[in-house]
């Protein structure tokens, strides 16, 4: 048995393979942009140097991210799930689930952008005052609403894993909620509400929450990590739709 650090050659080979994987992941987007630029729009590529530099940065970034995922985010998410299962306190597990959902969403840049746009829409639609202060208040309220919805979603999702509820009944219930709310919500808010479900789950939250769910499902006897471990993200994209429409009805 060999121990100690891997030989330089192996490390180098691994690094090259990781880079090649990222290149494969990025090839489609580069091909699409090149095809439309050169063939459809027949325009020259502006700033070729910038394009090359940017593509290189994206390649390095994706490679580092995927390595970091395997070294850091996945292990810590799963380790914490096991530790919570061993501790056996439902309260603290749910508190953790809520904080994770709320905390990662409330500061999410994509959500901040969407909330600001939504305030603009609401002001034009005459739902709120057009003054900047009213708009800021509205955006802030919306942001908190979405964060609350995601926090609650992770709590429900964790409870589902613990109890082994089949996911489809909860999702069907959620869909019914969305359909009912759509009937009552003001027209201006519907598009934003539907979109808010998609923007809440960021690149760091997704791996962490996935690892948490899979870890919990593996640590509890009788749960299957594939059938029960996934589904947390699904709740996190469903509840904001309902909550945002509720916000639109109330305000």
């Amino acid at each position: 048995m060999r121990s100690g650090p891997a030989p330089l050659k192996t490390l180098l080979w691994q690094a090259i393979r990781a880079l090649l994987d990222s290149a494969r992941d990025l090839a489609p987007i580069i091909l699409v942009i090149a095809f439309f630029q050169l063939v459809v729009l027949r325009a020259p590529v502006p700033d070729f140097a910038d394009l090359l530099l940017g593509t290189f940065l994206v390649l390095i970034g994706l490679t580092l991210f995927v390595q970091g995922l395997k070294l850091g985010l996945f292990p810590i998410g799963e380790a914490m799930a096991w530790d919570f299962a061993r501790k056996g306190s439902l309260f603290w597990l749910l508190a953790f689930a809520f904080s994770l959902g709320f905390g990662t969403t409330v500061a999410e840049p994509a959500l901040i952008a969407v909330a600001a746009e939504a305030a603009e829409v609401a002001a034009r639609g005459g739902m709120i005052d057009a003054a900047d202060e009213a708009k800021a208040d509205y955006a802030e309220g919306l942001r908190l609403t979405v964060a609350l919805a995601v926090g609650l979603a992770i709590v429900i999702g964790v409870l589902r894993i613990l109890r082994g509820w089949p996911i489809q009944y909860l999702i069907i219930g959620g869909y019914l909620g969305v359909v009912i709310m759509t009937a009552f919500a003001p027209a201006e808010i519907i598009g934003i509400a539907y979109d808010s479900g998609g923007v809440t789950t960021s690149t760091i939250t997704v791996p962490l929450v996935t690892a948490l769910g899979v870890g919990l499902a593996s640590s509890i006897e009788g749960r299957n990590p594939v059938t029960d471990g996934f589904g947390l993200i699904a709740f996190a994209s469903l509840t904001p739709m309902i909550f945002v429409m509720g916000y639109g009805i109330l305000i």
Binding site: D25, P28, I29, V32, I33, F36, Q37, A43, V45, L51, L53, G54, T55, L57, V58, I60, G61, F65, G68, L71, G72, F74, P75, I76, A79, M80, F84, W92, S99, L100, V106, E108, P109, V121, R124, I167, Q168, I171, I172, Y175, V179, E188, G191, Y194, D195, G198, V199, T200, T201, T203, I204, T205, V206, L208, T210, V226, T227, F230, I233, A234
Partner: protein, 266 residues
């Protein structure tokens, strides 16, 4: 701020750190105060977190230097009235072929951005690990990407035709419900997840630019109202395509087994 983050224009490390900090605070807070257990392989985990942070910073910077400006410009050009040959008199639906490139762009940009989406890569890796290889990471990602591609193309058509968003979404829900009843149990939760996972760092800015361009240039559309909704399409259709993928592969497996069984009958 400038003195703290001197290289922010080269690499947005501080901005990324700002995104990561709340998450790290929650993790450490619960680990230290509630669980009161040391983290196993602390140094490895820390190194991994640093890699994630640096990786995201590079990734976002690269996107903003190269792909986003070009992609957004492209979305604007492809939706420009001159390109779409919109004239005020003809009704815009009669010459839909003028929109061919637009729909093709919507489809391909949806597919391509999804393949590059880091959070989908993460979920695919995990699904592959957990299912002991039964779920193929590439197969899953391609299924999701096809779903997003169809979703964005249909979403673009919706903006062009001006039909209400909720008709599509509610019909989509009904299809998802029917599929859920027939799809293999093991894929259902993963399929629901893939809807939320797809719309992230790469997809949202480009798709938003497309929606904004379309709704401001098509006569009679209001960008504030009709520009939204593309993301919703992008999160609904992968649910269908992932369940469809699982249904097809289950069907194929049964077919192969039946073929194998047949010679023994004769």
């Amino acid at each position: 701020m400038d003195t703290l983050c001197p290289f922010e224009h080269i690499l947005p490390l501080c901005a990324t750190l700002g995104d990561v900090l709340p998450i790290v605070a929650i993790l450490i807070g619960f680990q230290v105060l509630v669980l009161r257990r040391p983290i196993a392989n602390l140094r490895r985990v820390l190194a991994g977190m640093l890699l994630v942070l640096a990786g995201l910073a590079f990734f976002i910077q690269g996107l903003e230097t190269a792909l986003f400006p070009l992609g957004k410009l492209m979305a604007a050009q492809l939706t420009a009235p001159e390109f779409l040959v919109i004239d005020a008199e003809a009704d815009s639906q009669s010459h839909w072929h003028a929109y061919f490139w637009l729909y093709l762009f919507a489809f391909s940009i949806g597919f391509a951005t999804t393949i590059a989406e880091p959070s989908l890569i993460a979920v695919a890796i995990k699904a592959n690990q957990v299912s002991a290889g039964a779920i193929d990471a590439w197969g899953l990602r391609i299924a999701v990407a096809i779903g997003v591609a169809v979703g964005i193309a249909l979403g673009a058509y919706r903006i062009v035709s001006g039909t209400p968003l909720h008709y599509y979404i509610i019909t989509g829900y009904v299809v998802v419900l029917i599929q859920t009843a027939f799809a293999p149990r093991s894929i259902v939760a993963l399929a629901y997840d893939s809807g939320g996972v797809t719309t992230s760092t790469v997809t949202v800015p480009l798709v938003a630019a497309l929606g904004l361009g379309l709704s401001s240039n098509i006569p009679g559309r209001n960008p504030m109202l009709d520009g939204f909704g593309l993301i919703a399409f992008a999160s609904l259709f992968p649910i269908m395509s992932v369940m469809g993928y699982a249904q097809l592969s289950a069907f194929y497996t049964r077919l192969v087994q039946r073929r194998k069984a047949q010679p023994e009958d004769h």
